[in-house]
Amino acid sequence: MKILICLSNVPDTTTKAKFVNDNTAFDTTGVQWIINPWDELALTRAIELKSDAANSIENITVITVGEKDAEPTMRKALAIGADDAVRIDAEPTDAYFVAAQIAEYLKSNPFDLIFNGIESADYNGSAVGGMLAEFLNIPSVSAVSAVNIENGQVKIKRDIDGGTEEVTSELPLVVIAQKGITKEPMIAAMRGIMMARKKPLNVVAPVEVDALTEIVNFELPQPKPPCKMIEPDNVKELVTLLQNEAKVI
């Protein structure tokens, strides 16, 4: 079985959002780039599955649609334990564009199990995984909180509103991962970091695709009025305010 992890390169989750060029571009000054948290969990789960020989996983590949500056993040994935990496050399302009690029690559380089995260921490689209599956006319299961392999059969748990379902599927399959898929992200060991330098990171040319959306500009949230403080021995007043001022209880 071959596993592919779609990897989005995103600003560290503590980054303050700032914009330049008349609020049309994200200000990358001083930003730390990381593997999108869910993609990191998916990668971790893939490595766990591969470590059990019974699952016969030959290979874990990570793929990113991005420019050269995404490579340090991709190297981190190799250091954690991916076997090789593919970068489709294009500025990712929207989710449709990204999914179309990965789909095109997969047509000549098939994989059995394709992991996506539920959401990219930058554009919050929750889109690439489902789009990719539709481009390839293959199944997708979303909100996945567990993946196991039993006798070559992939078994999935997905969250539904107020519950869970167990799902099995034909392969190839796109798994859209969220919390629960593994406990904690794996951290690269020194040996992994050394080895990562020698692992293949192949760069492929993009195909012609038009994005369907375009960002006009960004806005920062309106500043919130200051918090109204209430004395700790006067909780009654808080309840009155919630009832009469905020009108929420």
Partner: protein, 321 residues
């Protein structure tokens, strides 16, 4: 031509979310001067379907087929696409929940329709079609133009002020073409929580963080939630520690919610936590540390010990109920 809205049902019943969606769709239909068509997939009785008319649906299409008992993303996408084509949909509206996030992207490819994910307001313009959406997990917003002929929007839950506008729509049943090769997944062992208010549906949420000190100290949170008709939630470390179940974890890597009232007890307000709750209409913070970042996000704050403030809170609520 129409605005098509997909309304999910839960055991044959709609939820507030369904009505928000229909109302939202009808406002866009008004902007475009076209009809609102609501699509329901599943076994929903006529009385229930009719309720969609209270929020200005002009027409209701009901698809009830045994093959669609379980959510198969590929098959559902095909059904929505068939209806979109039949009704000449210019815009398709879907919920930004688990089901919507699973279907909308597939539909986007199927219809070659640009996706605006997680909107909370009406488009600021329909020509060009410009939407306003959250980016960077709520740290910023973007104005986004959808360039394709057909557009798909997913609407964030509890974000849109919906209103009644009673119409008496015709209900039409539709038999979609469902070839076997659409069904590649099998669902088994469905587990459902019963009797509890779901976190994502709740209008009030009482949430605890590491400041609660131990999972054994949760009874005031549960009692307050019970009194207020609220759901309970927690920060990530609390669910990581196993003090509370994972479904309660809110934040960037957990559930993203927008209740009318969010009460944060012993939660510091880390940026990743705020990513999941900052769209709440009103936030109350209870924390011993006056410099805790939660107070920057909160509307009302109490600097104090949860062990004392929560019991007083419960008492004060009892007095007004």
């Amino acid at each position: 031509m129409s605005v098509l809205v997909f309304t999910e049902n839960w055991d044959g019943k709609f939820k507030k979310m369904s009505f928000e969606l229909v109302s939202y769709a009808s406002k866009i239909a008004e902007m475009l001067n076209i009809q609102t068509v609501a699509l329901s997939i599943g076994d929903v009785q006529e009385d229930e379907l009719k309720k969609l008319g209270n929020y200005a649906a002009d027409k209701i299409i009901s698809v009830n087929n045994d093959k669609l008992k379980n959510l198969d993303n590929q098959a559902y996408t095909s059904v929505i696409a068939q209806v979109a084509e039949k009704e000449g949909a210019k815009v398709v509206i879907i919920a930004h929940n688990n089901t919507g996030k699973a279907l909308a992207p597939r539909l986007s490819v199927k219809l070659k329709a640009g996706l605006g994910a997680g909107v909370s307001k009406l488009p600021s313009s329909v020509e060009p079609f410009t939407i306003f959406k959250k980016v960077y997990s709520g740290k910023a917003y973007s104005n986004l133009v959808i360039k394709s002929d057909i557009k798909i929007l997913t609407l964030a839950q509890n974000s849109f002020e919906f209103e009644e506008n009673v119409k008496s729509p015709a209900i039409e049943s539709f038999e979609p073409a469902l070839s076997d090769d659409l069904f590649k997944t099998t669902v088994s062992n469905v587990q459902k929580q019963t009797g509890k208010i779901l976190l994502i549906d709740a209008e009030i949420v009482v949430s605890g963080g590491r400041g609660m000190k131990s999972g054994d100290n949760w009874s005031p949170i549960e009692e307050l939630a019970e009194l207020l008709g609220a759901a309970t939630a927690c920060s990530r470390p609390v669910s990581d520690e196993g003090w509370r179940p994972h479904e309660e974890h809110t934040g960037q890597t957990g559930k993203i919610i927008a209740p009318n009232l969010y009460i944060a007890a012993g939660i510091s307000g880390a940026i990743q936590h705020l990513a999941g709750i900052s769209s709440s209409k009103c936030i109350v913070a209870i924390n011993t540390d006056k410099d805790a970042p939660i107070f920057e996000a909160a509307d009302y704050g109490i600097i104090g010990d949860t062990a004392k403030v929560l019991p007083d809170f419960i008492q004060a609520v009892k007095e007004i109920k």
